[in-house]
């Protein structure tokens, strides 16, 4: 018997509406994408693949025979023992591959490219279940330089990676370290353990970028990578669209991505595990980095254009990170609203929304304003495909720069000066507190803005471990812990020291947390 008080069954509450416009259209489009996590053939994919009736059993069997994290050599041994013939054929196929490609009319450049494509096995920390866990996954990448730089996706290798193993084209494995990542463009740069390579006298080739701007729809391209762990798989297709637009989303492990670039679309078969591998033209030049696809659709794959990647690689090599500027405007396509705003065609970009307390907000910008020019340079945002480039111009300005924006509001046009801030991710630092069975993520400024929090005090609960104090106290993922023993949680250090004290001498500990802006008290007790 559930003793609920005698209240109306319509118990009325003033609903606070979550969410905004930004991710809506995309969410629909991506309903069948198993997402970035699945795409890199992570452990969780096993389940999703098995569940997905449309994927053949053979895939599952193949995956099952490969334990994630097994090196190529181990894999070969394993497989030879287990199922000799099938694997032998597979290896034979790899060895014969360049020959086969040559027969198809592809030249030297293509072979050189094949000798630069690697498999990447990643072990990373996750904090999703109230404790620190390790997750294993497989992705692709390619060697960019003779000094061992490897380019891949940010959703394959990110800061949470604790162990990265690269399988070279000659099947030898070598360790690698993250040089830097940029989740906004879903790119990450690794450096091979060159000392080890030197000691072992290993050799490899490196790939070269082509010009993605010159691609045309219908042009033949090849995708090379490790779909479902099948090393160095080459698939062929054409460029389906040179300039595909997606609204920004959170496909990189919950990090924002896609604001600043459009995508190459191809019908070359791209499967989970292809992520980070190159999309190349017949001469073997890399024109894109394959990153996502629609699961369950027929050959709708997407790659980050080389034109975007070149700039990101250059800056990651130089600084280990990309610095962008932020003013807090959310664009909309102006398509067919020119009449309403009395604008000439191909002029201006609609500002749909301005983030609260952002530089744009402070400068008085608001939804419905038209951005005509940035620092005297006219912008044209008639179509959605044009929006990422405009945002990229703003992002490329120095942090703290005084941008002169021409803004049209109603019949008036005026100059507004906006001082840029450094663009930050809404995903804060993560940490697990073992004794409490609690894992948290720091509230970032962007998170606080999006969730209408007064400031960035507090941590978001991302996981609780069943049966542990946090779970017994009733904390749930999404709760925002704001105080501990009546002290504001303005840094992770506060929690760390409280946890250390609890570990030394477990005593009831008082937490204040917000759930949907409602404050509750919780006791962590031994």
């Amino acid at each position: 018997m559930n003793l609920s008080p005698n209240r109306s069954i319509f118990a009325h509450e003033i609903g606070r509406k979550p969410g905004g416009f930004r991710y809506r259209r995309n969410a629909g489009a991506f309903r069948y994408v198993a997402g970035s996590v699945a795409e890199r053939a992570s452990v969780s994919l096993k389940r999703s693949v098995a569940e997905r009736a449309s994927v053949s059993r053979r895939y599952v069997a193949e995956r099952a025979s490969v334990s994630p994290g097994a090196t190529e050599a181990q894999r070969a041994r394993l497989s030879l023992n287990a199922k000799g013939l099938a694997t032998f054929c597979l290896i034979a196929f790899f060895i014969l591959l360049p020959e086969a490609v040559r027969a198809a009319g592809v030249g030297k450049g293509f072979n050189r490219l094949l000798d630069s494509v690697v498999r990447i096995d990643v072990r990373e920390e996750t904090f999703d279940d109230g404790g620190k866990r390790f997750d294993a996954s497989i992705g692709s990448g390619f060697i960019l330089s003779s000094d061992g730089l490897v380019l891949t996706n940010a959703h394959v290798v990110g800061p949470r990676a604790v162990e990265v193993t690269v399988t070279l084209p000659n099947l030898e494995t070598v360790g690698a370290k993250l040089v830097g990542w940029d989740h906004w463009t879903d790119l990450a740069l690794l450096r091979l353990d060159m000392a080890d390579i030197g000691r072992r006298k290993l050799t490899f080739s490196h790939a070269e970028f082509g010009e993605s701007e010159k691609l045309y729809p219908g042009e033949t391209v090849y995708a090379v990578g490790t779909p479902f762990g099948l090393t160095r798989t080459v698939t062929r297709g054409i460029i389906s669209n040179t300039n595909q637009y997606f609204e920004a989303d959170r496909e990189v492990d919950g990090y924002e991505t896609g604001q600043f670039n459009t995508w190459l679309q191809t019908d070359a078969a791209i499967n989970p595990g292809n992520s980070g591998g190159p999309l190349v033209t017949e001469d073997g030049r890399v024109v894109g980095i394959t990153a996502r696809g629609y699961m369950g659709a027929n050959n709708l794959g997407f790659a980050i254009p080389a034109s975007t990647a070149k700039g990101v690689v250059a800056e990651l090599v130089k600084n280990g990170a990309i610095t962008r500027s932020y003013i807090g405007i959310v664009p909309g396509a102006l398509q067919d609203l020119e009449g309403f705003y009395a604008l000439a065609m191909d002029t201006g970009m609609l500002i749909n929304s301005v983030d609260p307390d952002s530089p744009g907000d402070r400068a008085g910008l608001r939804g419905g304003d038209i951005l005509l020019a940035v620092d005297g340079r006219d912008v044209d945002g008639r179509f959605p495909e044009q929006l990422p480039a405009i945002l990229n111009v703003i992002a490329g300005k120095p942090v703290g720069a005084h941008l002169k924006l021409s803004i049209k509001r109603g019949t008036e046009t005026k100059q507004v000066t906006v001082v840029t801030e450094r663009l930050e991710s809404s995903v804060g630092e993560e940490l697990a507190f073992d004794r409490w069975g609690l894992s948290v993520r720091k509230v970032s400024r962007m998170y606080a803005r999006a969730h209408q929090l007064p400031n960035d005090t507090g941590v978001v609960v991302i996981g609780v471990q069943p049966g542990f104090p946090a779970d017994i106290a009733g904390l749930l993922p999404g709760d925002i812990v704001t105080t501990i023993n009546r002290r504001p949680v303005d840094s992770l250090e506060i929690l760390k020291s409280a946890h250390a004290a609890y570990t030394r001498k477990p005593e009831p500990t008082l937490l204040e947390a917000e759930r949907d802006h409602r404050i509750s008290l919780f006791i962590l007790k031994p």
């Binding site: 018997m1 109306s8 003033i14 416009f21 609203l337 009733g474 006791i523």
Partner: protein, 469 residues
């Protein structure tokens, strides 16, 4: 040693009294039932929405000889404006003849909806008070027989029937609620003891958890079921009889006492013990609303209410009932009443005195207008909208979309329910009158091909273009 005979004497006496009662019982259970059914009324009405008239049926009891009837709080959706409630009809159980009835409004404290039926029907009803004990209402004992009335649906002429059970438990939720072993009456219908004395009014039933098994799910999935037709829980007569006079003066149930301590949250035992509230409880105030009596009294977000007018908040089972307790303490008072509140703020205890106000206009009271050609309803932006959107009340302006007609121009443009329309064709909407007038003009202009809205949703805004042709 001396006490034993006294106790024995008392028990002998009480048995004598009880058996005296039983022997002097005037009627058999069927006879009692037949008489008491005359206090019961079935009521139906229509909720008039943009695209439909939704019928609702509820059951209630007559409380006086003027034809006043009370219905349980669940009889009317609280989001619906009383203006949308139409065509009230009342019926005697077992008789399809409908009598006219008028909706009088809801009492916030009891939650009851009051209806008055036409004199022709009133004359045939016996007020529930006729079955009440003359002085103090008897409280049933564990295992006592308790029985009540159920009523079938309209297609069965609201046929009344007998439900009979025994008392299993009495709980404070926070009202005193009797819980019978089985269903004992339809929600809103009366419960009696074996002597036919009124002992309570059936409440909404409790949810019961069942496991649902199927071919596909052999492990079983827990589901909660709520019986809408019969209930095993009833508010004791002491929670009913003293409040029958709370007939609302108007359909909006105004005035409504208002403190403005929003988002009350209960605490569990561990927290109460930590705060040294052993055997007592507290309610956390999530947000002190702008310009509210609570704000004027100096209440702060995160304060823990631990006593009202010096009375500590009792501990309830389950703990969460304490928030209902605080809300009822507010609702039982009137605007202008002074409420003493003891709050914990950190480690400090603070005494506050709040002079209750009248609740700001509720969403269900907001003005609204439906634009059929455009395909949506616009309603006034009220205080609760500012609270829900976490914007300062001074920014209250514009109109809120309360309904979108499927496949209409508004739906095609992507307008959604709860969207906040801030600008219409580039002009800021300052008031409902403005917005309504402008939209009326747009709707009346058959040459118009489109109009443009600036709409807020969550923390975002967007320009939406509504094509009319």
């Amino acid at each position: 040693m001396i006490q034993i005979p006294v106790r024995r004497l008392l028990s002998v006496l009480s048995i004598a009294v009880l058996s005296g009662g039983i022997s002097s019982r005037a009627s058999s259970l069927p006879d009692l039932w037949k008489e008491r059914v005359k206090s019961v009324v079935a009521v139906d009405y229509f909720t008039e929405l943009e695209n439909e008239r939704r019928p609702t049926t509820a059951y209630g009891v007559a409380i006086d000889t003027h034809g006043t009837v009370i219905l349980p709080s669940a009889a009317v959706d609280p989001r619906i404006s009383p203006k949308q409630l139409k065509d009230f009809k009342a019926y005697l159980p077992g008789d399809p003849t409908g009598f006219d009835a008028v909706y009088l409004g809801q009492d916030a404290f009891t939650g009851w909806h009051f209806v008055r039926v036409e004199p022709k029907l009133a004359a045939q009803l016996i007020p529930i008070t006729s079955w009440a004990a003359p002085d103090k209402s008897p409280v049933p004992e564990l295992a006592d027989e308790v029985w009540g009335i159920g009523v079938r649906n309209k297609d069965e002429d609201f046929t009344p029937y007998l439900l009979d059970s025994h008392l299993a438990l009495i709980q404070s939720l926070p009202q005193q609620v009797g819980i019978a072993q089985q269903e004992v009456a339809g929600p809103g219908l009366p419960v009696f003891n074996r002597d036919g004395v009124f002992i309570g009014l059936a409440a909404s039933s409790f949810g019961q958890t069942f496991l649902q098994f199927s071919q596909a799910d052999r492990g079983g999935t827990p589901i909660m079921l709520v019986d809408l037709e019969e209930s095993s829980a009833f508010s004791l007569a002491s929670e009913v009889l003293p409040y029958l006079g709370r007939v609302p003066g108007n359909v909006d149930g105004r005035p409504l006492a208002w403190l403005g301590a929003y988002g009350l949250e209960s605490m569990d035992r561990d927290v109460a013990n930590f705060l040294k509230l052993t055997d007592r409880s507290g309610a956390v105030v999530s947000e002190v609303l702008e310009t509210s009596p609570a704000e004027k009294a100096g209440m702060k977000n995160g304060d823990v209410i631990v006593a009202i007018d010096g009375q500590p908040l009792p501990r309830f089972r389950p703990d969460r009932v304490v928030t209902d307790y605080v809300e009822r303490e507010i609702e039982r008072r009137k605007p202008g009443d002074v409420m003493g509140l003891t709050v914990l703020r950190g480690t400090e205890t603070v005494e506050l005195k709040a002079t209750l106000g009248d609740e700001p206009k509720l969403i269900r009271e907001a003005e609204r207008k439906y634009f059929d050609r455009l395909g949506f309803t616009a309603r006034e932006f009220v205080y609760g909208d500012a609270v829900a959107r976490r914007v300062p009340i001074r920014e209250a302006a514009g109109v809120v979309v309360s309904y979108v007609k499927p496949n209409s121009p508004a739906a095609a443009a992507g307008i959604e329910e709860d969207d906040w329309i801030k600008e219409i064709d580039g002009k800021a909407v300052k008031s409902f009158a403005d917005g309504s007038a402008w939209l009326t003009a747009v709707e009346g202009d058959t040459l118009r091909t489109e109009f443009v809205l600036l709409v807020g949703r969550g923390t975002d805004t967007a320009i939406l273009r509504v094509k009319l042709r």
